[in-house]
Symmetry: D2
């Protein structure tokens, strides 16, 4: 059983991760160019931003399907963190994705 | 292996189902009232609209994670179709949810 | 000229208002029924949630068009606050909509 | 006065333009690189995808504020069409943005 505060904290992490992924993709990555705009990296950044936004949306709607979107969110966040590590110079995004993944795994359990 | 035309046809079904669920929830259901605005029904309608939008988004981004969002989309569409059958007077939404579920299951396979 | 901290604070208010409007519509309003699920009220709640989400998105993308979405966001937030006052028992949403409107007006200036 | 079929046709154009902008940005532009991933171009492509999605959402909700989002959508579509012309090799996006802008202008009138 999750308490309301667990869910609010997961919504907060998802919306923070959404902000970090979208903001860094559209500013840091596009300005840096090179490996930062490699298709695979940009796609996982945008997919991560979208699933974080959707998982927060599902928790706010109050549907039990949030467990499934949170599970998928955790997987995509981990993959995004690994992509950011490989590209380098993206530690804020690595850290935020890992925090969000951890929070989403607890919510999906 | 999916062909491009399979994916485009799934994107089309998802965006049609998004339109049907959001449009009927915000117009037909709210105008009818009664069982149509019961929390469980409205929540599954809004969750269905959102996952359809997100699954289309993932296919357009071109990320392989679309298989997972499509699988979840198929499950939510089926649940939404059942809820619409129980509420009654929502046959368009029942039919569109079933078509989208079928298309998403093929995409998730 | 806006400083980065002004924009981050507007993104924060928009995402808080998105949470409040969507969360209260899908939980408080649907559970309460009656005036809370009147079509005009539910529509402005959902429109407010969406424009808040979009305005935050535009600021994160870093496009100068955020000024236009923030101006529209301020207008919709004010209308949503008035609708919540008329329905009653929605003071949290009234307050958050007013705070977001104020922040968006500054951003649109 | 708009007829329902005008609005459905504008929703269709917006969702087609959303698909074209997001799909071409995340696939064609990222694969091509060079001018195609210049920050200004990618930002207007993503802003265009988002405002098209939001304008369709507003029309589906049935809120009169769709006139304002459609007006903004028309402006962003025109700017996106010009950016695509300058980058070159993006005629599908130029054409779809112009069609959507024309439809949104009628809706905003």
């Amino acid at each position: 059983m999750h308490q309301m505060s667990d869910m609010q904290s997961c919504i907060d992490e998802c919306l923070r991760c959404y902000q970090t992924c979208l903001g860094m993709a559209m500013n840091h990555c596009l300005e840096q160019g090179g490996k930062h705009v490699e298709p695979g990296h940009m796609r996982i950044m945008m997919a991560c931003a979208e699933i974080c936004r959707t998982s927060a949306h599902f928790m706010l709607i109050g549907t039990p399907h949030h467990k499934h979107t949170c599970r998928e969110c955790a997987e995509i966040c981990e993959e995004c963190a690994r992509s950011c590590e490989q590209v380098g110079d993206m530690q804020d995004c690595v850290d935020q994705c890992r925090r969000c993944a951890e929070s989403c795994r607890r919510m999906a359990a």
